[in-house]
Structures are given as structure tokens and as C-alpha cells.
């Protein structure tokens, strides 16, 4: 009830305070300064208005000869408008609204005045202007002078009567009878101006009246009146507020006085109850302290001081919970623990509101206090401390003993007098495999294995029930059924009265002991039976014992070595340094293992893997050395084999690439040291791939082996011959004196390789191309040495195989050029740099040109015309051939079709590269081209090479499709590859082209023309036509004619010519035939 009353009081006070503040500000709402300014401005405005009125009056009576004063005044008035409106806007409440409305009306009136004023200015100016001019106008016509006087009079006294009179006069005015011409004009002009002036004067008078009629004065008065009234009202209200303010303030002070008195009374009452409380607290046996809600100590009893002697100083003064906690921790190493599951205290000020926290305080001097902190409903914190140090001490003692039992290495079982288990320790659990909870309440009999008689148990029981200790062994069974041995001692426990309450059995597991004995037996067996030799020596390194394997490996019997030094086994292959190192390591690390060569009893030396270990006594002294070893003779042999395989090529037995590089590195290092020369030969078998492809890998492998053999005999012992990969071999010539030495070797090898190989019952010609690079001339780096030799080898191949080539720096340049060419080649078609030449093929029988072969040329922008030899292989390698090939085909067909349209029927042969086929030259593309160009399929012959036929399956389908289309096929360069008749049959060729290399060898006199003759015969048997290529002389022509060759192509008739010259050339050939130059009898 009291609390509620206090609450009401509070609200009342608050309300009163708010009221006071509001009143204060309400009073301030009337800003006297603003009010004065507003009045000031209004005054200024009305003053200015007066000034304007005055100016208007002066103006309308023509007393003002210039309007500048108006400008100043009107600008001033407009400024005042703005300022007054601004102060009006600041005025708040009802008064403000009223003021602004009144002001708006007043300002409207003022603006109306300003508007009229401007009109008055304009009108007045016109009237003045007339008045200025009229005397001049009248001067020209005297007749109007009286009228002018009348007018000026009117200007001064503009009464209605006067004006009316003037109107009449002007209307009646007539020019003097004699006036004509300019005189009449002047008269009319003056009259016109008079009329205008009169009219304007009337208008001006109206404007003036309107101006004076503007009710600005009234509006100003009403504005001022209303505002003054409102202001007076405000002031009155303000006074009222002030009175209220005073009254409230008095009331507040009275209230304050009453409150102070009441406060004093309640403090006296509080002091009294405080003393009572204090006495109660002091009488407590527990330590007690009370803290305010902020944690400040309110009181504590003497016990509290006794409990915390180290706080005595703090407790004299201003103690807080925080500080007490801090000092407890600092001076007495307070440790807090939870109590019976309660959480650790959330210390002040986090102590939960209204809750109680119980926990333990432990101090370093083993004081234990049970602490209970409670937050009372009023927020204070009551702390009570019980001293539980004694209980804790006992508890700790017990815990120690309990700990000892728990950690005992022996099983401990406690049973009641009935034999029911009350306690088992962890060792028991570990030994038996039973968890404590499984055996509690059980009889220990559950462990019985059954091999102890009932009698023995009875004896046990009688011993212990009579209060004696029983000792003996059990053969018990674990939970998992395994049996173990235990030695036990069972003794009774008596209470104070000497009555037996429990039995304690302390048992030791002796299974391990029993097992160790078994282990020793086992070890002895191992020692005797292991395949590894074992030798034990004493601290002086005299052999103590050896096992049978020792005897088996070394040949020595145990009795022959016992007591002797192991040095007797030494082979002498390791020096003393080796043994010193061995012993040093053994003693440093406790063991040593490694390979060692020893000598058997029969004198044979053998490798063994020896592991040595030290056996130390408890003081760390060496008592024995144990050596275990195995004979690794076989393993070493195996390792050698593996090493060989890693470094040598299985097929040829030659060092492989990695070994070569290794040797090369070493050779270069050596040469650098010795300042000697090295030569590296890169050997590549020519046509190896063809052999492999046509005759199979078995034959290929045999070829490689034979080639290896041939090369080997060309080399010195010190030189390295290595298989680099595939058909590539590398020869490292150590210590050459000059480049010619290397060339000599290369020549020998080429010679050796040029002889035919007999493989699978047939003779094969292979040959080799060799690139040579030299150290240190070409490079100092091994990798570059290899690369250079490789490059030189390629060069040798390019320049016609079966030859050797030294590396030159120009080759690098060539490689660069090749790249450059490749780049150009890719754009050659687009840039229109390719063109075709045509070489006629002549039919000897009909003595006419029947066909032409299209031959590709490249007009290189820098290098001029390039032969296909130089770029076709590049185009093939880079795949550009696909595009070029199609272009050639299209171009050639278009050309042949063109000739046909001119009535010249020539078939056309186009070469197809094997790469084109793999690059996807499709038969339907060819068909499309034929359709496009309008060339009959029969007029197109595609020339393929033998290598294309080697791609067998895909080519076969392709050829079939072509044949179906009707395109002819001729086999180019016949005789250079490994073509067989079976291929010719399978591919159904139409034409064979005998390679120029055979034709060039033809001679009428040598008679060794059998090869061509054979080809001719074979072709005839297969129904193939034959074209002889490269025919250059009449002699060759003659032989070919003799051999029955019908078709001839060659320089003898014509070199390949551009399309423009071809027809002319064909004509010339025909003409030659007609003239008989080329007929059979002419050679």
C-alpha cells in the first residue's frame, strides 16, 4: 500500500513538473522582440504607402518631372511585403492565422495600388508629353491658342464643368476659312493632340480616383486593430500562466518539504531494525554477509571475518563482491567448484535475479566452505558460508585409499560374509572381462573354471570365516571363456566389535608369467629354425651362440665359432674404415643394418644383409650384440637385372634413351674437363616404317636387331650405341680428334646398312640417314647436341636418304624458314598464289596427246615459284593439304572441262596425297566438283601412291566408291615402295606409272632393262595401262617403245607448262608426230 502511494506521488510530481515546463514555454511563445519588429515593419510600410500616395498626388498634378523616386519607394515597399510576410509566417496559433489573413488583404490592396501607380505613371507621361508638345503644335496654327489656354486651365482645375466645356469647344473648333494645305494639317494635328490629351486626362482622373479608392488604409487599420487585440489577449494569458507557474512551484516545494520529513522518520525506523538484524546475524554460527544489489557490502558477522582472515583489511572499509572475489583469488588462491551437481556460480553481477547459487570455495590452506548466495526479492545478495574443511579432509583421505585400490595392479574383490560381491576394482574388470555392474551382488564362483574341487573351496571358506587369511591359486575363467591363472589372498574385515563384516580378496593375474615361460620356449624354436643366420656375441664381441642357419650359410658349426671373434668371417672386401663406421653407428644408434661381404668356410665370398643390434642391461651397459643376416646373393642378381632393364632396350640390348642421356652428360662433362671432342650421330633407318607396316612388327623387330648388330661392328668399344626410340639410334663417339673421324664412322654405318637385309626369307633394302653434331663446335649443351644431330638427320633424309649430314647453324635457319613457309602456305590459296602446270601424256600408238597431269606450283611472293617437293610434305604435315588438294582438284577439273568446251578432249590426272584421304577427302566432294565443273568422271584420273594403299581398309572403301563414280585411278611412282601385286588386284587400278628412277636407267645398249620389262609384263597380266614418267631422251623413248609401253610423259615431249601455253605445246607435239620426229624409227 505504501509503495503504491509512493508511486502516485511520483506520477503527480512528474505531471506537475511537466506542467511547469509547458507553462514556461507557453509564456516564451510570445516573443516581444518579434512583435516589435512586426509593428515596426507595419509602420514602415504604412509610411512608405504614405510616401507613395504623396508621389502619386504630385505626379497626377504634374509636379514631378521624373519617376526615380517611385523606383526607390516601390522597391522598398516590395521588400517590406516580403519581410512582413515572413514575420507573419513565424506567428503561431490562432493569432497567426488571423494575422496572415488580414495581412494578405492589406497587401492585396497595396499591390492594387502599385498596379494603379504604374498605370498612372504611364498615363501621366502621355499627358505630360501632350502638354509639352501642344504649345509647339498650336504655334503653327494661331486659331487654336484660346483652346490651348482652356485646356491648360482644365489641367489645373479639372472640374466636370470645365471638362465638359472643353469638350464642347474642341468639338466646335473649326479651322479658319483661309487655311489649306500644311496649315490645315497643323490645325488637325493640334486638334488631334488636344482630343487625345483630353481623353487621357479623363483616364488619368479615373485612375487617380481608383487609386485613392483602394481601401488600403481601412485594411491596415483592421489588421493593426485585430493584431493588437490578439496580442493583448496573449499577454493576458501569459500573465495567467505565470501565476499558475508560481502556484505550482510553491506546491512543489511544499511537497518536497513533506517528503524530506517523512524520509527522516523512516530512516530512524530503519536504523532500529538494522540493529536487530545485526544482532541476529552475529549470533549465527555460519559466516554471513549481505551485499546491496550493486554488490556493495552492507553487513557481515564476526564469523565472516574469521572465515576470511585475509580480508580483514578490506572488510573494514568499502568491500564489494567483486573486490572480495578478487582478493580471495589473489591472496588465498580461491578455487570454485560445483556442489552436488549445481553449476558453477555465475558470479556477481550476473547472479540470477531472485535465485540461489550453491557451490564450494576451496582455499590453498585447505579451507573448504560451502557457499550459498541468494538474491533477495529486494535485490540484495545474502551470502552464507559453512565450514566443511574437516569433512573434506576425511573425504580426501578416503579418496586416496580408494584411489590406491582402484589403481592397484592386483584385482581386489570385496564381498559380504555371504560371499556376495560388493566391490571390484578396475583391475578385476580388466582381468576377468566382467564390468563391475555385472558382478556386483554375484558370488565370485562365477569365475570358476571347474578344475578346483569343492573340497578346496570348503577349505577356503572355513579358513576365512574363522578369521584367517587364505592364500592360494585359482585357475579361473574369464567372461570370454579364456582361462587364466591367479594367485589370491583372501582376508576377513572386522568391525569395531570384531565381527566379520566383509572379505577382501586380493588376486594377481599370473597368466603372463606363465606365458613368458612359453614365449621363451617359442623363441628358442625360432632361433633354431629361422632361415636367417643369427649370431650373438658378448660385450667383448666373442661369439656366444649361433643358430643352425648360421651354420647353413657360413658352413661353420657352432662349436667351431663359439668364443671366437666374428672377424673370422670377414671377406676382406670392406676396409677397416667400413668396420669402424659400422661399430660407431651401432653404438650410437643401438643398431646397424647394411650389406656386407663375408667369406664362407669353403672360402667363397657372398653378400649378406646384416642387422646388428645391441642388448643392454638395466644400467645401459652393452651386454650382448645380436647379428641377424641373410644371404642376398640371389637378390643382388635380381637387382642387377632390373637395373639393366631400366637402362637398356629389351629388343636390342642397347642402352636406352635415359641411359644414353646419362652417358652423354658424363661424356660432355669429361670432354669439358679433358678439352676433348665428342661426336653425336643420329641414325634413322630409311623405310623402316614401311617395313613395319607391310611386313609386320616381327619383321620390323628383327630388322632392328640386325641393324644393331651391323652398327655395333662399326664402332669402338668405348663408343656408345643407344636405341633412341622406334627406328632411331644414337651413337656417342667419345674422344674424336676431328670431324672426319665421325664422318668415317657414319660412312661405315651407311655402307653396312645399305647391304640388303634378309628378313623372313626375303631381301630388303633399308639404308640409313645420319645426322652428326659435334661437341664443342656446335653446342656445349647435351640436349642441344641431341637436337642438332636430329635436325641434321632430317636434313640428310630430305636431301635424299642414305647419307650423312653434319649439323650446320644454317639448319636452325632452315627450321625457321620452314615455319615461315608454313605460315605463308596457310594463306597461299586465299592470296591466289597457287597455280597449276600441266604436263602432256602422249599416246605413242595413236601419236597424240591424250591426257595431261596437273602439277601444283606455288608462286611465293618473295621466293618466286616453288616446286611442290618443297612444300607438299609441309602441307601434309600441317594438314593444309586438305584445302589445297580440293583447290587443285576443282581447278584441274574446271580446266579440263574448259578445254572440252573448246573441243579439245584431254583427260586430266590429279595427284591425291595419302594425307588428303586421312584429312577427309570424300568421294561425294569429288562428285560435287565434277558436277560443278561439268567434267565427265571418265576424264578424271586420280594418281595415288603406294603408301596410300597401305592404309588398306579405309582406302579400299574409298576406291570402290570412286570406281563406282567412274573416275580412273593410276598408281604413281610404281616400284619405289613395297607394293605387292595383291594390292594392285585389290585396288583395281587402271594405270601404273613407272617411276622416273627406273626410266632414267634405261639404255638401249646396257640391256639391263629387266625391271621395267617385268613391270610391263605384270601390268599386261593385270590388264593395266602403263605410263612411263620422266622420259627425257630419244634413247629412253626407243627402249620403252620396244618394251611395248604405250603412254609416255616427260621432258622429251614437254615440261609441265602453264595453262596458257599448253594447247600450243600440244599442237607442237602433234606437229612433231606428223613430221615424224617422234616416230619409232626416228631414234
Amino acid at each position: 500500500m505504501k509503495f503504491r502511494f509512493a508511486g502516485w506521488m511520483q506520477y503527480l510530481l512528474l505531471a506537475a513538473t511537466v506542467l511547469v515546463v509547458m507553462l514556461f514555454f507557453q509564456n516564451r511563445a510570445i516573443d516581444v522582440e518579434q512583435h516589435n519588429r512586426r509593428l515596426d515593419l507595419l509602420l514602415h510600410l504604412t509610411e512608405s504607402e504614405g510616401a507613395l500616395d504623396r508621389l502619386v498626388l504630385l505626379t497626377t498634378f504634374f509636379r514631378l518631372n521624373q519617376y526615380d523616386p517611385f523606383v526607390d519607394k516601390t522597391q522598398r515597399v516590395r521588400q517590406l511585403f516580403a519581410e512582413i510576410e515572413k514575420t507573419g509566417a513565424e506567428l503561431k496559433g490562432e493569432v497567426g492565422i488571423r494575422f496572415r489573413a488580414d495581412l494578405a488583404e492589406y497587401l492585396d490592396a497595396m499591390r492594387e495600388k502599385l498596379r494603379l501607380l504604374e498605370q498612372i505613371k504611364s498615363k501621366t507621361a502621355l499627358v505630360r508629353n501632350g502638354l509639352h508638345y501642344l504649345p509647339l503644335a498650336v504655334k503653327e496654327t494661331d486659331a487654336l491658342s484660346p483652346l490651348l489656354n482652356e485646356l491648360l486651365y482644365c489641367t489645373l482645375f479639372p472640374t466636370d464643368a470645365n471638362l465638359h466645356n472643353l469638350h464642347n469647344l474642341i468639338d466646335k473648333a473649326k479651322p479658319p476659312a483661309a487655311t489649306t494645305g500644311t496649315g490645315l494639317d497643323a490645325f488637325n494635328n493640334a486638334l488631334f493632340h488636344m482630343r487625345a490629351n483630353l481623353r487621357l486626362m479623363g483616364e488619368l482622373a479615373e485612375l487617380r480616383d481608383s487609386y485613392t479608392a483602394v481601401p488600403s488604409r481601412e485594411r491596415f487599420n483592421s489588421l493593426q486593430h485585430a493584431y493588437a487585440g490578439a496580442y493583448a489577449h496573449l499577454t493576458q494569458r501569459s500573465e495567467l500562466y505565470s501565476l499558475l507557474l508560481l502556484a505550482l512551484t510553491v506546491a512543489l516545494f511544499t511537497g518536497l518539504g513533506l517528503a524530506l520529513r517523512k524520509n527522516a522518520r523512516s530512516r530512524a525506523a530503519a536504523e532500529h531494525s538494522w540493529e536487530q538484524l545485526h544482532d541476529a546475524v552475529e549470533s549465527l554460527s555460519e559466516a554471513f554477509a549481505l551485499f546491496s544489489s550493486e554488490g556493495r557490502m552492507v553487513l557481515c558477522n564476526k564469523r565472516y571475518l574469521e572465515f576470511y582472515p585475509w580480508l580483514s583489511e578490506l572488510l573494514q572499509g568499502d568491500a564489494t563482491l567483486d573486490e572480495i572475489f578478487r582478493q580471495n583469488t589473489l591472496f588465498a588462491r580461491l578455487r570454485l567448484t560445483g556442489y552436488e551437481g549445481s553449476k558453477l556460480p555465475v558470479y556477481f553481477p550476473e547472479l540470477a535475479k531472485g535465485g540461489t547459487q550453491t557451490y564450494l570455495e576451496q582455499y590453498e590452506d585447505n579451507r573448504w566452505y560451502l557457499a550459498s548466495d541468494t538474491r533477495t526479492s529486494s535485490g540484495e545478495i545474502a551470502c552464507v558460508r559453512f565450514d566443511i574443511s574437516q569433512g573434506k579432509k576425511t573425504e580426501q583421505e578416503l579418496r586416496k585409499l580408494y584411489r590406491a585400490v582402484e589403481q592397484s595392479p592386483a584385482s581386489v574383490v570385496i564381498t559380504d560374509t555371504q560371499g556376495r560381491i560388493e566391490y571390484v576394482n578396475p583391475k578385476f574388470e580388466e582381468t576377468t572381462g566382467y564390468a563391475a555392474e555385472e558382478v556386483l551382488g554375484q558370488n565370485p564362483r562365477l569365475l570358476k573354471s571347474g578344475d578346483k574341487s569343492e573340497k578346496e573351496y570348503q577349505e577356503l571358506w572355513s579358513t576365512i570365516t574363522s578369521g584367517k587369511v587364505w592364500r592360494g591359486q585359482f585357475h579361473n575363467r574369464r567372461k570370454d571363456g579364456t582361462i587364466y591363472w591367479e594367485s589370491a589372498s583372501i582376508s576377513p574385515v572386522r568391525d569395531y566389535d570384531g565381527v566379520i563384516t566383509h572379505f577382501i580378496a586380493v588376486k594377481e593375474d599370473i597368466t603372463a608369467q606363465k606365458r613368458a615361460e612359453d614365449q621363451l620356449r617359442l623363441n628358442a624354436t625360432v632361433f633354431d629354425t629361422t632361415t636367417e643366420g643369427i649370431m650373438v656375441t658378448d660385450a667383448d664381441n666373442r661369439i656366444k651362440s649361433v643358430n643352425p642357419s648360421f651354420t647353413r650359410i657360413t658352413g661353420y658349426l657352432a662349436e667351431e665359432v663359439i668364443g671366437r671373434s666374428p672377424r673370422m668371417l670377414s671377406s676382406g672386401r670392406q676396409d677397416t674404415q667400413f668396420y669402424e663406421e659400422l661399430w660407431r653407428q651401432l653404438y650410437k644408434r643401438g643398431y646397424w643394418s647394411g650389406e656386407i661381404w663375408n667369406r664362407r668356410k669353403d672360402g667363397a665370398v657372398y653378400p649378406e644383409w646384416l642387422s646388428l643390434a645391441l642388448i643392454l642391461d638395466e644400467k645401459g651397459n652393452v651386454t650382448e650384440h645380436v647379428g641377424v643376416f641373410s644371404d642376398i646373393t640371389q637378390r643382388k642378381a635380381d637387382e642387377e637385372q632390373i637395373r639393366y632393364q631400366a637402362n637398356y632396350d629389351a629388343l636390342t640390348g642397347l642402352p636406352n634413351r635415359s641411359l644414353l642421356e646419362d652417358r652423354l652428360d658424363r661424356a660432355v662433362a669429361g670432354a669439358r674437363r679433358e678439352r676433348s671432342k665428342l661426336a653425336l650421330l643420329f641414325v634413322d633407318l630409311d623405310h623402316f616404317k614401311t617395313v613395319n607396316d607391310t611386313l609386320g612388327h616381327v619383321v620390323g623387330d628383327e630388322l632392328l636387331q640386325q641393324a644393331t648388330g651391323r652398327m655395333r661392328v662399326c664402332l669402338r668399344e668405348a663408343d656408345t650405341l643407344a636405341r633412341f626410340g622406334g627406328d632411331e639410334f644414337v651413337i656417342l663417339l667419345d674422344d674424336v680428334r676431328q670431324a672426319e673421324d665421325a664422318a668415317e664412322v657414319a660412312k661405315k654405318i651407311i655402307d653396312a646398312m645399305s647391304k640388303p637385309f634378309v628378313l623372313g626369307g626375303r631381301e630388303l633394302f633399308v639404308g640409313a640417314s645420319i645426322g652428326i653434331s659435334l661437341y664443342p663446335e656446335d653446342t656445349q649443351e647435351t640436349a642441344v647436341l641431341l637436337r642438332n644431330a636430329d635436325m641434321a638427320m632430317y636434313r640428310a633424309k630430305e636431301t635424299g636418304r642414305n647419307r650423312y649430314q653434319f649439323f650446320t647453324f644454317a639448319m636452325n635457319e632452315q627450321v625457321y624458314q620452314r615455319m615461315e613457309m608454313e605460315r605463308n602456305l596457310r594463306t597461299a590459296v586465299d592470296r591466289d598464289e597457287l597455280f597449276l602446270c600441266y604436263q602432256p601424256i602422249v599416246d605413242l600408238q595413236n601419236e597424240r596427246v591424250v591426257s595431261v597431269e596437273a602439277l601444283l606450283r606455288w608462286r611465293h611472293p618473295d621466293e618466286g615459284v616453288i616446286d611442290p617437293d618443297r612444300f607438299i610434305s609441309l602441307a601434309e604435315e600441317t594438314g593444309v593439304i586438305a584445302g589445297i588438294g580440293l583447290w587443285v582438284l576443282r581447278q584441274a577439273c574446271a580446266q579440263a572441262a574448259g578445254w572440252r568446251r573448246q573441243g579439245i578432249e584431254l583427260a586430266i590426272s590429279v595427284n591425291v596425297s595419302p594425307r588428303q584421304l586421312t584429312a577427309g577427302l570424300r568421294v561425294d566432294q569429288i562428285k560435287e566438283i565434277l558436277a560443278e565443273t561439268g567434267l565427265p568422271a571418265a576424264a578424271l584420273k586420280l594418281e595415288i601412291t603406294e603408301s596410300l594403299m597401305l592404309q588398306a581398309d579405309t582406302t579400299l572403301d574409298w576406291v570402290d566408291d570412286l570406281r563406282e563414280l567412274g573416275v580412273g585411278l593410276s598408281l604413281d611412282d610404281f616400284g619405289t615402295g613395297y607394293s605387292s601385286l595383291s594390292y594392285l588386284k585389290r585396288f583395281q587400278m587402271d594405270i601404273l606409272k613407272i617411276d622416273r628412277s627406273f626410266v632414267s636407267g634405261l639404255s638401249r645398249h646396257q640391256g639391263d632393262n629387266s625391271l621395267v620389262q617385268t613391270i610391263m609384263a605384270m601390268a599386261a597380266s593385270l590388264g593395266l595401262e602403263v605410263i612411263a614418267e620422266g622420259v627425257e631422251t630419244q634413247e629412253q623413248l626407243g627402249v620403252l617403245r620396244q618394251l611395248g609401253c604405250r603412254y609416255i610423259q616427260g621432258f622429251l615431249f614437254s615440261e609441265p607448262v602453264v595453262q596458257e601455253s599448253l594447247l600450243e605445246r600440244v599442237g607442237a607435239i602433234q606437229a612433231d608426230f606428223h613430221r615424224g620426229f617422234l616416230s619409232s624409227d626416228s631414234g
Binding site: Q66, D68, Q75, R78, Q119, S122, N129, G130
Partner: protein, 350 residues
């Protein structure tokens, strides 16, 4: 120290001379003494000049000096010549109001941003501070308000202050000056104030006619004096009076004759004059009476620039405003009088 030093470079030196010693002075006794002396001199000088006898004529002399803060005038001058005040940084105020050429560009219609053509003849900025209102139709109360007109007019500078201010703020010189003079960043209000200050300083004082008004009988020749007499007697002076010889009232174009009917080029919106602003019928064809102070220098004439020479302008005015013809001899004399009206200003080259 001399009051009469108010022109061009002399003015400049004046301010330097007065500020330098002030800085050097450690406000010792001699310094205060000098300051006091200066104050006394200035205070003494003013009444002497104000008290000089001036003829009682409808046209009054222009004030001999302006009342503006020189630093604001300098800032206003910078802004007046700053092309960044236009949309594409191509046109400054001075573009249409070149100060050396009488404060207007001499064109019938000035070219705005992007070659746009205005709708009315550009008036001079000289003595504009004395006008009762700005623009031909008086729609702007004062110069500050007037400045917004060309800035926002799409046919003139075609921009907004919101666009202009960020550009000016990039210029450290502006930031510094605005900070010093207005204790603020660059604001539209301050910029308008500075430009208006500058324009109010453009007073063409000390013309021959003003010197005559102030009592110097030799300042005008006979023709000019006769011209003035005719100017008054024909009635011109009824409208063109005051210190600015006009500019303090509005008048109908064609008060005594139908100017627009005779012009024969058709009515343009601009011809409606003050009506465009007030919407009141009484204001149709009313225009602010222009000052004749620089009339001799600012052809072409009238709001529509329909006349390109002074004599014809005088004739047109006589015909339509006064309702009469003036003979050539009188026209010549009035023109001679008008040529005695332009005064001097350091920006104005004559």
C-alpha cells in the same frame, strides 16, 4: 586616399595601397591614427559631393560611384565571364552582353547555346541596377531574380544551377572566394548575389551631359543643348526621365499610333509585352521604357530590334509615342544630345 579615384586601374591601386599598410601595421598608434584620418577624409568628402549644385532637370546625373563590395564585384565579374554558366560551357553572360561594346551584342536576336536564337532584343547591362524591374516586360523584380532567366532559358544558356554549381566547385579559386565572401560553399544564391553586385557596379557615370547637369557649362555643345531642349519640348522626356533617362516606368509601344499594325511583320508573343507577365489586358503592348543612357551605343533598337540606327529610332518614337513627325534637323540635334548621355566605365571602351 582620394575620393575621386574610382576608375579602372586607379581604383585597383587604391585598394592595394590601403590594404598593404593595414597588414603590416601591428595595430600600433600610428596605424590607428592613419585609419582615423582616412575615415575623416571619406566622411568629409561625401557631403561635399552630395551638396554640389545639380540642375533641376527631369534627367538627373548618374551616381558617381557604386556602393558595392569590391571583392564581390570581382567575383561577380568572374562569374559574368564564366562560360560554365551555360549548358555546354559555350556561353557566358558576357557572350550576349559584351561589356566593351555597350553591354549588349549589337544583334537583333542573340544566339544561345547550340546556336538557338532568342525571342527579343538583348538590352544593355549597364546601369541595369537602377531599373524599376528587369526584362522588357519587367517580370523580374530585381537583378538577382533576373539572372535565373537567361540561365534557365533553353534558347539562352539552357541550364540549371544544379548543373552549374558542381562545375564551379571544381574550381579552387571559386571555392576560396565564395568561402571568404559568403562563408559558404559555392551556392546559387551566393553566385546570383555576386553577379548582381557586379552588375550594380556597372554605372556609366561622368557623361558630358552629367557634367553639364553638375554645372559644367562647357561639357555640352550648342547642338547637344538644343537637342536636349527639343527632347523636352517634343515630350520625349515625359517617359525618358530620371537618372537613367528611362527605365523607371512602363509605357505602351504605340501610345499615339498603331505601331504593330504599321510594322507589318505580324505579332510575335514577345510583342505582347508586359501582358505576358501580368495577364492583365491593360498591360498588353506595354514595355519597360528603356534607359537612353547608352542608346547611342546599343543599336538595334526597341524590343523587336526593328530599327538599326538612332535617327530612325527617334523618328519611330516620335511617330508612335508622341503622335507627330520630327524634321531631320531636329532629329539630328536630338541624336547629338543622346550621344552626350553615355558616361564612362572601366569595362566600357569608347
Amino acid at each position: 586616399m582620394h575620393y575621386s579615384r574610382k576608375m579602372g586601374n586607379v581604383e585597383f591601386r587604391y585598394s592595394i595601397m590601403e590594404t598593404q599598410p593595414l597588414r603590416k601595421m601591428s595595430i600600433g598608434k600610428p596605424g590607428w591614427a592613419a585609419l582615423c584620418l582616412l575615415g575623416v577624409c571619406l566622411a568629409a568628402a561625401r557631403p561635399v559631393m552630395a551638396g554640389a549644385p545639380v540642375r533641376d532637370e527631369p534627367i538627373q546625373p548618374l551616381p558617381s560611384r557604386h556602393e558595392q563590395d569590391e571583392r564581390k564585384v570581382a567575383l561577380g565579374r568572374m562569374l559574368f565571364h564564366d562560360k560554365r554558366l551555360s549548358k555546354d560551357d559555350s556561353l557566358s553572360c558576357a557572350g550576349c552582353h559584351p561589356l566593351a561594346k555597350g553591354g549588349m551584342d549589337g544583334k537583333a536576336r542573340s544566339a544561345g547555346v547550340g546556336g538557338a536564337e532568342g525571342t527579343i532584343n538583348a538590352p544593355t547591362v549597364y546601369n541595369a541596377g537602377l531599373l524599376l524591374a528587369q526584362f522588357w516586360d519587367g517580370r523580374a523584380q530585381d537583378l538577382e531574380e533576373q539572372i535565373n532567366g537567361p540561365i534557365k532559358n533553353p534558347l539562352e544558356m539552357a541550364t540549371t544551377w544544379e548543373a552549374i554549381i558542381p562545375k564551379l566547385e571544381l574550381d579552387p579559386e571559386y571555392v576560396r572566394r565564395f568561402g571568404e565572401l559568403y562563408a559558404s560553399r559555392v551556392t546559387a544564391e551566393a553566385a546570383r548575389d555576386a553577379i548582381a553586385c557586379f552588375e550594380r557596379s556597372l554605372i556609366t557615370a561622368d557623361s558630358p551631359f552629367d557634367r553639364w547637369l553638375r554645372g559644367d557649362e562647357t561639357a555640352l555643345g550648342a547642338a547637344e543643348k538644343e537637342g536636349y531642349a527639343l527632347f523636352k519640348s517634343y515630350g520625349c522626356v515625359a517617359c525618358h526621365q530620371g537618372a537613367n533617362a528611362g527605365g523607371n516606368m512602363f509605357q505602351r509601344m504605340g501610345a499615339m499610333g498603331d505601331y504593330f499594325a504599321d510594322r507589318k511583320t505580324g505579332l510575335t508573343p514577345a510583342d505582347q509585352g508586359r501582358f505576358n507577365f501580368t495577364g492583365r489586358e491593360e498591360d498588353r503592348y506595354y514595355f519597360k521604357v528603356p534607359s537612353l543612357r547608352l542608346a547611342a551605343l546599343t543599336a538595334p533598337y526597341f524590343h523587336d530590334a526593328s530599327v538599326d540606327n538612332l535617327p530612325d529610332a527617334i523618328r519611330v518614337m516620335a511617330r508612335y509615342q508622341l503622335g507627330r513627325e520630327i524634321n531631320d534637323a531636329h532629329v539630328e540635334k536630338i541624336a547629338a544630345f543622346l550621344k552626350a548621355l553615355p558616361g564612362k566605365h572601366q569595362e566600357l571602351s569608347q
